[in-house]
Symmetry: C2
Subunit: 207 residues, 2 copies
């Protein structure tokens, strides 16, 4: 959708599908910075600076809403309640990024994957994408690895391990958490950082 370094005059909102924000370093390695599911903005940054410092890609065919910057500027100047909501979204992104940094910086790969899957399940559930503890997860092992800073091959081995420990099953893009309490403890996962009790969804409806 957009490449690092370009300019854009729109903010992108995922309506349907999956997208991700990522950066590449000079070795060509990709680091995924966050996933976006329906209801998530991809590039809040560009509401204040038009230059974009990361790339955005859809991971499956998706429906994306384009919101012109002028519209956002309008909100900033005339709707203080909505402006606070935007601020809230930015701070929420900080929370998630901090958790990812903790995850990548301090947990071994099996806990790292378990933690990522926990986050994905909770966020997907909030977006209405789950049935019980099942979820269509359209990510390849490569893309999961890029979010955790490990290779696709190692992601494969760690996925096998989580399945062998009877915490999940993952076949044909269908993820099932078979032991939610177990994986939460295994991953040291605490959902509070996602702030899902707050009314972030209302912002989307107001637009």
């Amino acid at each position: 959708m957009i490449r690092e370094g370009n300019r854009t005059h729109h903010v992108y909102l995922v309506v349907k599908g999956w997208a991700c924000r990522y950066r590449t370093n000079s070795d060509g390695k990709i680091q995924i910075l966050n996933y976006q599911i329906p209801g998530d903005f991809c590039n809040l940054h560009t509401t204040l600076t038009q230059k974009i410092e990361y790339s955005i890609a859809t991971l499956v065919p998706s429906v994306i809403a384009y919101i012109p910057h002028g519209r956002i500027d309008d909100i900033y100047t005339h709707h203080s309640r909505l402006t606070r909501s935007f601020n809230w979204l930015a701070l929420n992104e900080i929370s998630i990024l901090q958790e990812w940094l903790l995850n990548v910086g301090s947990r071994p790969s099996h806990q790292r994957l378990a933690h990522l899957l926990c986050e994905i399940l909770i966020r997907a559930r909030a977006a209405g994408l789950t049935e019980d503890h099942r979820l269509h997860l359209p990510l390849t092992q490569t893309q999961l690895g890029e979010a955790m800073g490990i290779t696709q091959i190692h992601t494969n081995r760690v996925l096998k391990r989580l399945q062998a420990e009877r915490l999940i099953t993952f076949d044909d893009r269908m993820l099932t958490i078979t032991d939610w309490q177990g994986i939460k403890e295994y991953a040291d996962f605490d959902a509070r950082y996602l702030h899902l009790d707050n009314a972030e969804a209302s912002l989307v409806n107001d637009l």
Copy 2:
């Protein structure tokens, strides 16, 4: 200064000294999320939710300004220009966190350290803490390691390596970048993500 999970009624601003935000996982490992130098806010988060999800500590004896939340709320409702500045600060923190995530997730430890030192030099320079390419850096090897997700022992080895490659010297808390162009290329460092050309400092003066 504050521990994870507490509540606070103030936003902290570093006036003099060094502080850091960090999280600990259940193994007791610490991950530093950002350093704060004079002019930096420690906990913008608490402007919207009073619960704090990370700990904050000073790294040297420091001077910290306490700004009551009421004051910030006042700004949100009456000063739209300043509100935008706060929003800008939040988005800037996102930029830095994203860069840290890229650093920890995709670079080997020697590049990781080099990149961190580049960032520190640039930010310290903007805060007027440098003389030329020298800087009093009051961080222990343990604290540097906690920002990069590596152990103190390995940090020691990597520091030696950067010195052996004649990129830096670091003795008695005095850091000198002896080859700025060299270390930038070595670390794959591009300062744009810090947004130092923008007028973030003006916010502090206005308060």
